[in-house]
């Protein structure tokens, strides 16, 4: 059957036959790098046009409709525009850090790609601490925002950076706790194990209400962690004009922009993996016929479908809700989400021990 893993294996075999092992490794690395860059850029283009269309339809508008068929090439045109714009560095800025920040943002976003299973057996590195790795690496994102905001020598940026510092670190807790709920249920940190455990049903279905609560907490927390509205305090357009990237322009701004969207993709992919079964098709208990039909849909389509559904939900939030104020944002985390997810984790543990899940 045609699949990503099949292609990868074929290629690996052919390369091993043709070249010596070192060269094979290097060629594979180059191919992987190019593929990731392509995925990265492609995701940026797709997510931007998706966001614009979603927002337009929710706002009874048409959205971009000039470039390409139904405006689908709009984000490509925007990229070209950003490419020829001047990336200005303000005079008063800390130039080194100012230019470093977008790189950090990009590296973090890129590193998070490693443990994601895009399709059946198609993963860059199926590390045994996959979930821990994700939550560890995603913490670095805040550093790039802090650097960007601080080094800009702009008061709006500084405020935005400070806000996002408090915000991201706070929400990491409940995101981590809700991830732990799944880890408790599966007993493994490895992404492939977690997906395998959902062979006969996704966790969101077989985990009863506690897992649904964990899922909702997770979605809220990652929305906050990626600085998306209604938690976009770091940008807070109507208060801080553009928040931490006020001074960024041209390609440097575009990198932040891209990193933000890729981060949204990644957290949604993690959410899809943990709660919705990743690339695992939709299976119901022992309805073998039904499960077979589901198996015919390629695993990558399952994965991207689930991920994009979650991305849509996050966009849906953005175009519906007003923004929270900074103290309310932290109240929500410390007074509502954190206690709820702590209690929820205990309940999930009890459930796992009692084997109440399917």
């Amino acid at each position: 059957m045609w699949s990503f893993s099949h292609i990868a294996n074929e290629m690996h075999e052919w390369l091993s036959k043709t070249f010596n092992p070192t060269l094979t490794l290097i060629i594979e690395m180059v191919i992987a790098g190019v593929a990731v860059i392509g995925l990265f850029a492609g995701l940026g283009l797709v997510l931007v046009i998706m966001e614009r269309k979603v927002s337009a339809w929710m706002q009874i508008r048409l959205g971009p409709n000039r470039v390409g068929p139904k405006g689908m090439l709009q984000s490509l045109a925007d990229t070209v525009k950003l490419l020829v714009k001047e990336g200005l560095t303000p005079d008063g800025a800390d130039k080194f850090l100012f230019n470093l920040a977008p790189f950090i943002a990009m590296i973090v976003a890129m590193l998070l790609m490693a443990p994601i299973a895009f399709a059946r057996d198609f993963q860059l590195w199926d590390m045994n601490i996959g979930v821990l790795y994700v939550s560890a690496v995603s913490s670095i994102m805040v550093i790039s925002i802090l650097i960007a905001g601080w080094s800009s020598n702009n008061k709006y940026s500084l405020m935005g950076a400070m806000r996002s510092g408090a915000q991201i670190v706070s929400y990491e807790l409940s995101a981590g706790l809700s991830v732990l709920a799944i880890v408790v249920l599966t007993g493994s940190l490895q992404v492939s194990d977690i997906i395998q455990s959902q062979k006969d049903g996704w966790w969101i279905f077989k985990g009863h209400i506690p897992v649904i609560i964990a899922f909702v907490t997770f979605i809220i927390a990652v929305t906050a962690e990626t600085n998306r509205a209604p938690f976009d305090l770091a940008e807070a357009e109507s208060e801080l004009t553009a928040g931490f990237h006020t001074e960024y322009s041209g390609m440097k701004f575009a990198l932040f922009f891209l990193a933000e969207y890729v981060n949204v993709f990644i957290v949604c992919a993690i959410g899809a993996t943990l709660f919705l079964g990743g690339w695992m098709p939709f299976h119901i208990g022992n309805w073998t016929d039904f499960n077979h039909v589901m198996d015919y849909i390629p695993s990558s389509i399952w994965f991207f479908g689930k991920t994009f559904f979650l991305i849509f939900v996050i966009m849906w939030f953005r175009w519906t809700f007003p923004r929270l104020r900074i103290d309310q944002l932290l109240n929500l985390e410390w007074k509502y989400l954190l206690p709820i997810s702590m209690i929820n984790l205990v309940v999930v543990t009890a459930m796992a021990i009692l084997k109440w899940h399917f």
Partner: protein, 174 residues
């Protein structure tokens, strides 16, 4: 320096008190959010509600009401005649000095001298479309046109002479 800031408590939902209130708050909050999401989802799926006008594409069907105040024009009939007597009422009525009436005296066929307009200069760039000149005109010589795409590259082009070259005043208009 002393800073006596009249600090107000940051607002949160007035707590209903106790654990029941806590859960009630969460329930009410989530419900209100879901109601809003339902509304946006309705519009997301109902594309018929879209109200965007695709302006440059719908130029042909664009229907401006006949009272729309676009710019001042002076209608001429097929004999290249207009109704302006050069009385300067419009010039006086205009708050901005948009209209300048330049008159000349012409000698009529019977030898009498008569005042008539040489040029009626109209500065579109100064005009605020207030309609006062149209109201002031005793002989209905000028009207508002329904044009609205006025942008040009050189602002001198906005200074217009409303009467056609070689035009005359219509018979019977005093």
């Amino acid at each position: 320096m002393s800073k006596e800031i009249n600090h107000k408590e940051p607002s949160s939902i007035p707590p209903s008190g106790g654990w029941g209130g806590y859960i009630k708050d969460v329930y009410r909050g989530v419900k209100s959010l879901l109601v809003g999401m339902k509304r946006t989802m309705y519009y997301f799926t109902h594309h018929k509600e879209i109200i965007t006008q695709q302006y440059p594409d719908n130029r042909e069907t664009l229907d401006l009401p006949d009272r729309f105040k676009g710019e001042v024009v002076m209608p001429h009939d097929e004999k290249n005649e207009h109704r302006c007597t050069g009385c300067q009422a419009c010039e006086l009525a205009c708050p901005n000095g948009t209209i300048k009436v330049i008159t000349q005296s012409v000698i009529l066929a019977d030898g009498r001298k008569k005042k008539a307009i040489d040029k009626l200069v109209y500065h579109l760039e100064l005009c605020t479309m207030c309609n006062l000149c149209i109201v002031a005109c005793p002989s209905d010589a000028i009207v508002m046109a329904q044009t609205f795409e006025h942008s040009v590259f050189d602002r001198n082009e906005l200074t217009k002479i409303l009467n056609n070259p070689g035009s005359k005043i219509m018979e019977g208009v005093e």
